[in-house]
Amino acid sequence: MDRRNFFKLVGTASGGAVAGACGREGDAIIPLLVPEEQIVPGVEEWRPSVCRQCPAGCGTIVRVMRAERILEIDGEKVRKPIAAVKKIEGNPLDPVSGGRICGRGQAAVQRLYHPDRPRGPKIRNAAGVLEDASWDAALDRASEALRAASAQQVLYLAAAVSGSRSAAVSSFLEGCGYAPARTAGTFDFEVERAAAQYAFGWNGIPLYEIQDADFVLSIGADFLGGWVSPVFYSRRFGHMRRGRESIRGALFHAEARFSQTAWAADRWLPAAPGGEHALALAVGALLLQRHGKDAASLPPALAATLREADIAALCMQSGVRQSWVEEAAGRLASAAAPVVIGGASIVRRNSVAAAAVANALNLILGNVGRAGGVKAPSRPLDTAAVDTGAARPTAVFLDGIADAAVPLRVRALLDAATVIAFQPSAHADVLLPDHDALEAGRVVSPITAPGYALTGGPSFVRPLYDTRASEDVLSAIAKRLGKSAAVPPAPYEEIFAAQDGFADTREFVSYAERQGGWWQERSAEISAAPDPEGPWGSAAAPGAPAASAYPLTFQAFSSVQYGDGGGADLPWLRQLPDPASSLMFDLPLEIDPDAAAALGVRNGDRLKVISAAGSVEAPAYVNPAAVPGVVSLGLGGTADALALLPPESAEGAGAQIFSCPARVERVGRSDRFLQFTRIDRDEEPARS
């Protein structure tokens, strides 16, 4: 069966989910052996790949066509035909993307062709400036730093991505006797994993089958915007809403920010910052006390808490109108297929408890493992945040973490050490640029793949610059350190063992490469085993009002455009209007109208936000939907949101908290405040 027919067949079988464009696959895939000069102009090739813009790992297909690169060789302009990436679409066969892709994924091609992309290795010189260097010099410099450090003094910081590359990293670290890779404590979903462990006894991030649900209550998880896998959940959301005959699923969303999910929700429950826990408890209490739901599957401690809870007090504490909480609980109770999503797009001190209770509500609703309910994670996720209290590294590998997503306490570590980075970073002392994700052949396991494995095909465009695959770089470093045991496995094929129905690994791999991955539903049903020792107590009563020095709450969030901040330099994303403020090229500090009025602040005024940890300046956007007393700032704008966050972790997890007390001062006008639309409301003018 050739590739195009394979696509078609699968496409028909999976209910017409196949997009038209992918059906146009030519039989001939450009073999790498064909010199680029011989690519036929105007003929398109679609090659499968994986999006690496966020940990979700959507399967993509990439349109490759001939282009001409103008190079200056010996002062003469030469036109060189190359295979260039033209467009990225979702891979219809991929269970995560299902042929769909978000804006950040679309913009990945601009990462490949970004004008500021490093074109070779760099070393920080005595003057503190990164300057071009040869690979040998750069590798020497990195090896020196590693040699000077003891094994305990080497830290490998990586984003929460698994696949062939991280396997190579692990084998390198192991071979050299270094500690396993750690995350920076941001965007590795430790809160969600801890909550799932408590509520269900599962390792990983649960899958919420919202596509079959008829009522969804999301507590703290901005699953359509900056959460685990926006495309995956957007598809499911679309199906939930209008994909079924005569059933329209409804969504209530509780969060202290009017996020993308709150936009799309039928009702937004504007919880006070940290009020998600009380809200989840209130809903649980209502289910038990008022709707007579069975608490048998709950951990006894939680059941007791819920039975004794004072609903009115909890609602008050949550910041949400009691009638709305009651409505949410009522609809959960009466829905045929209700589901509660618990998460923490904005991590707070009590987020683990909030997410755990929210998840545990599914136990009351009895939907674990059922259609429209919660399913066990497809794969375990065992990354852990670096323990900044203990670590004193002198050499740090920085891998795949955007500068904007590095919390202050990790920055302190980076400042004190020699930083070996694979992607451009302000912290880098040695930059060993990796190929772009589109240039390197790798296997990536998506964070939420519902029981599938996914491969990225071999590279199909040649590296544009003098970059090297970091697997090879690690291997070279290992050689320099004299640790031949640490040389990582070269070909990614070795990750796979031959599967049933294939003659050998090679045949299997080529099959997986053709369709962009290999997926197999994990049939084993994992039942829930809640942890009786979980954070099942009642919500801590709010302490005395915060000291008047910091009367507001500041929260940092991952924006739709920039994600963890890593997308902030891509032109398409930069010029994308912020959904809330319509601001382009930057992210504003969102402030509620009352607080703004009190400070005399208008859109575009420059505000200084001050917390115990630091202060930043940002342009103000008076967001009509901002929760009173809460100011929010996205990651990746010119203002460094994380610089305000004190080095604290959520209770019960290593995750950096994204919310803290703060105060705001007006410092003047911004030079520019580039809104695509300056109009917030569509109101008919009154006659005067």
Binding site: R69, A84, P230, W263, P577, P579, P624, D680
Partner: protein, 232 residues
């Protein structure tokens, strides 16, 4: 001899599915070589988004909602932009598309003034992409020089490719064979594109839904984009 019937392209957008994520906006930029705009130019209001999300807040906290809607060229049947062009740079083709002929445009900008949806964008200067971003250019779409009006084409180049391929393979175009970039990328699957003359097509079914409305339909422009309003 029977005359071959031309497909009548139309789009339907289910606002109940739409999450306002702006994936379509980026998809459109990636597909159509839409020029980049510098902050200086953006400050003057010259940002180009062939498709954009119009958003309005409604109500006050805490009972606040936001009304949002992707807006692109509505490909009106009775398009106000067309007759005012002195040089026929924009006209209605037999497939119901409101075609913009970049080469013919002299830049009076009258069409843009007369578009009630404000979806036409003018090239104030020759576009520029810093090297090597231009490698990404879609060779199927021309680069518009300065002084020329541009707008959403329903991805005419994809329609053309789709038609050619079906012809090559000697088969009829099937519903869903052709998808503009925004429709194909939409994560919430909130957009449908196809032949409105075919009652079986997805877009026909969506457009026939009770929730279907057209933007500013009181102006009589007969848009080809249908919005399925939110509703319980």
């Amino acid at each position: 001899m029977t005359e071959k019937k031309h497909p009548q392209w139309a789009m339907a957008i289910d606002l109940d599915r739409c999450t306002g994520c702006e994936g379509c906006v980026v998809a459109c930029h990636a597909e159509n070589n839409v020029p980049l705009t510098s902050p200086d130019e953006a400050e003057r209001g010259r940002m180009k988004h062939w498709i954009r999300i119009d958003r309005y807040y409604e109500g006050t906290f805490p009972d606040i909602r936001v009304k949002y809607r992707p807006v692109m060229c509505q490909q009106c049947d009775d398009a106000p932009c067309e007759p005012v062009c002195p040089v026929y740079a924009t006209y209605q083709n037999e497939e119901g598309l409101n075609v913009q002929v970049y080469n013919r445009c002299v830049g009076t900008r009258y069409c843009a003034n007369n578009c009630p949806y404000t979806v036409r964008y003018f090239n104030y200067e020759d576009p520029f992409w810093p090297e090597p971003l231009e490698l990404q250019h879609n060779p199927d779409v021309s680069i518009r020089p300065g002084g020329v009006m541009e707008k959403c084409t329903f991805c005419l180049q994809r329609i053309q490719r789709g038609k050619l391929e079906s012809k090559e393979e000697n088969r009829e175009l099937a519903d869903g064979d052709i998808q503009p970039a925004c429709v194909q990328g939409c994560p919430a699957e909130a957009m449908a594109f196809g032949d409105i003359a075919d009652p079986e097509s997805k877009v026909s079914r969506w457009a026939g839904s009770g929730r279907s409305t057209q933007l500013l339909d009181e102006l009589g422009t007969k848009p080809r984009v249908f919005y399925l309003e939110k509703g319980a």
